[in-house]
Subunit: 413 residues, 2 copies
């Protein structure tokens, strides 16, 4: 099957937003073994959008549209696609009810009439329900062509595609693509490339590295006649990667460092508390995003000032005076201090210089200490991170989560 | 002038990279008053690229290409464009010297011959020198059409465009474009659309709404013979928008809620401390991302458990027993508790049910109380938020920041 993507929205053409949906969809289609030769962005203009639709369907079997399903006058993807396919739009009472339900909390002064526009669906189309917004997605098949219409906001588009469009496309395909993502922490992309370069030369499965902030991933993808066949191909390569890079692997597929560490703590029922200086709550907030975390995390403190470090954590004035707030010694006392205050199994501390100001030749921006106290036994890691304030703070959080993960695995085998 | 962008590269079509160049170029062209109706992505394939070029020049006067100028066999943007324009490629000795100079440090084992491919330039073209890589950029004018070829890596493309292409384009233009973004909080896109629908019908200036998580923006854009003329056109519409929506406007242009609130606190030198339950540090972390915030923020606490709320904040056991942790009364005591503990001017509290579990018919997921104590005078807002855990937590943070902002403006006029 050949596919194209049309992103609809003047906000993309004027540079207000980056078209990240296109990357997500491209990756997903690639993983499904669907070819794509072109992507297009068109504005909220019916004539030009119609022209883009005509071109795309002249070249491809399926076109995936993102955006232009909103309630305002200039949202016209659905109307334009329906007209192109010569299919009427029909009002669906049950979609209106879903929208009403979704808007309940917002609609103190009644519902804006314009939202009911979103309850119109092209005749004969499959409806993709939206739990995260008011715009339903749509799959319309006619004359051997498929139009998939998705809402623009990534937090609506991504789950809708994964949960509803992927199963639909899988059912249409006569072979199976499977993939596995191996997630590595604490090693760079170039180094990973050197270690697995021979594996990257294969064509089935393929192995492709990708570097994101603070992690490197290896995607193994295989094509087979059955799911089992594709999975077996993946498994062989995966084992070889695990042999070579095992120490750096922290997770697979949709896992991420906060989720992996939180899951480990919850599974072992180990309680944790954090004492944060330069990350200012971000470490706790990342853990806090995981459902159920409050069963193992009951408190944390943010202590920017020396006073706060003494008051909440019992850091000694002498320690701060002799070694400074950004030091191994302070990190050590912070980690043990929060563990004792919170009566938790594990205490984590972070103290460092996030920048842009505050650096010195001895203690430059990016110098961070991460302490972990496991039932009174404290280890401290010194980090030299690069980048701006945001990057240093995020990098620190990932290192702190990884330190907790490693500590649990070491002590609780 | 009408322009289009063609990004060349299979790595975009398979989702390995996000096309951030397109956003940068779109914004720049928009600011130059150059219209753009389409953007395209094409792979490293000469036939399909030729087809994309033909289409783009059929619709536009200028096409900006990004990528495909590298030294490898599959880099073929220059060759394909030269063939489309029927112009020969000529070898430039001085470009070879520039490439040699650039590669000096890298080329320990001699220069890769493939790099000399980059010294060929279409006859009659303008050369854009590249200080950050080996691929020169190219501007080719023929038969009233303009092709601008830029290297793919953003760190080469961005400065090359700003320093060399913008002056070239400004010299061609006979008018100026200006724009202003108005940022609104606490009102939905549909409602905004209803209130300013008459303004959205204008063509100069144009007014366009855009909804992101937790905010709605209105972009006002105007075209004039001079900068002053364009700005005057914007000002008239901006004043009208301020008249109609003033209470919802929290900022303009590149501002955002954390930055606006933090700037206000730092400007007035008002100290703040946070007591967070369901947001678990995210409120403090968002403030913590702003450089210099530690001058007004020295501590915060995360208190998931009732014990922590009593221990750190002095919330009364009776309050928790009678009203529960998620209640106006608890939010009130938390806000005043953290303000007293931290000896700060302002104390902010957050307590709510982020989900997915923990909701009841009386206290559903999304019920959140935000308290602000301003020197002992406490106000509490009740929110009913929608969405998943992440969305409830982020929405709560934005409401809390807005509550602090409003509190400062009310008390410190």
């Amino acid at each position: 099957m050949k596919a194209e993507i049309i992103a609809v929205g003047t906000e993309i053409l004027v540079g207000d937003i980056v078209n990240t949906n296109a990357q997500f969809l491209s990756r997903e289609l690639f993983n499904l073994g669907i070819d794509m030769y072109y992507q297009t962005v068109a504005g909220d203009n019916p004539l030009r959008l119609t022209e883009a639709i005509r071109l795309a369907f002249g070249r491809a079997d399926m076109v995936i549209f993102s955006g232009g399903l909103g309630p305002t006058e200039d949202d016209l993807t659905k109307e334009t696609v329906a007209e192109y396919f010569d299919v009427p739009l029909l009002f669906h009472e049950e979609i209106k009810d879903e929208i009403k339900e979704y808007l309940k909390g917002y609609a103190k002064n009644g519902y804006p009439e314009s939202n009911w526009k979103q309850a119109y669906i092209p005749e004969g189309a499959m409806i993709l329900h939206n739990q995260r917004g008011t715009a339903p997605g749509i799959i319309l098949e006619k004359n051997g062509k498929i139009a998939v219409l998705l809402p623009g906001p990534p937090r609506e588009l991504l789950p809708m595609f994964t949960e509803q469009v992927v199963p639909y496309l899988r059912a249409k395909s006569d072979f199976v693509m499977e993939s596995k993502v191996v997630r590595l922490f604490g090693i760079g992309e170039a180094k990973v490339g050197e270690i697995v370069c021979d594996l990257m030369e294969g064509s089935n499965p393929t192995v492709a590295p990708y570097a994101k902030d603070n992690e490197v991933t290896l995607r193994i993808a295989a094509k087979g006649e059955t799911k089992e066949q594709a999975e077996a191909l993946i498994e062989t390569v995966q084992k070889e990667i695990e042999n070579r890079l095992g120490d750096y692997i922290y997770g697979y597929d949709e896992e991420n460092m906060p989720r992996t560490t939180a899951a480990l703590l919850m599974e072992r029922q180990l309680t944790v508390a954090c004492a944060e200086s330069c990350t200012a709550g971000l470490l706790t907030a990342m853990l806090g995003d995981i459902p159920g975390i409050s069963s193992v995390l009951s408190e944390s403190v943010v202590t920017y000032s020396n006073e706060a470090k003494m008051k909440y954590l019992g850091v000694l004035p002498e320690t701060l005076a002799s070694f400074g707030a950004v030091s191994e010694e302070t990190a050590r006392e912070m980690a043990e201090g929060i563990r004792k205050t919170a009566s938790s199994d594990i205490g984590v501390s972070v103290t460092g210089i996030a920048g842009p100001d505050g650096g010195t030749p001895e203690k430059p921006v990016g110098l961070v200490y991460v302490g972990v106290s496991y039932r009174g036994e404290v280890t401290v890691k010194k980090l030299n991170l690069h980048g701006d304030r945001t990057k240093v703070r995020r990098g620190t959080v990932m290192h702190a989560l990884n330190a907790v993960r490693e500590c649990v695995l070491k002590n609780e085998r």
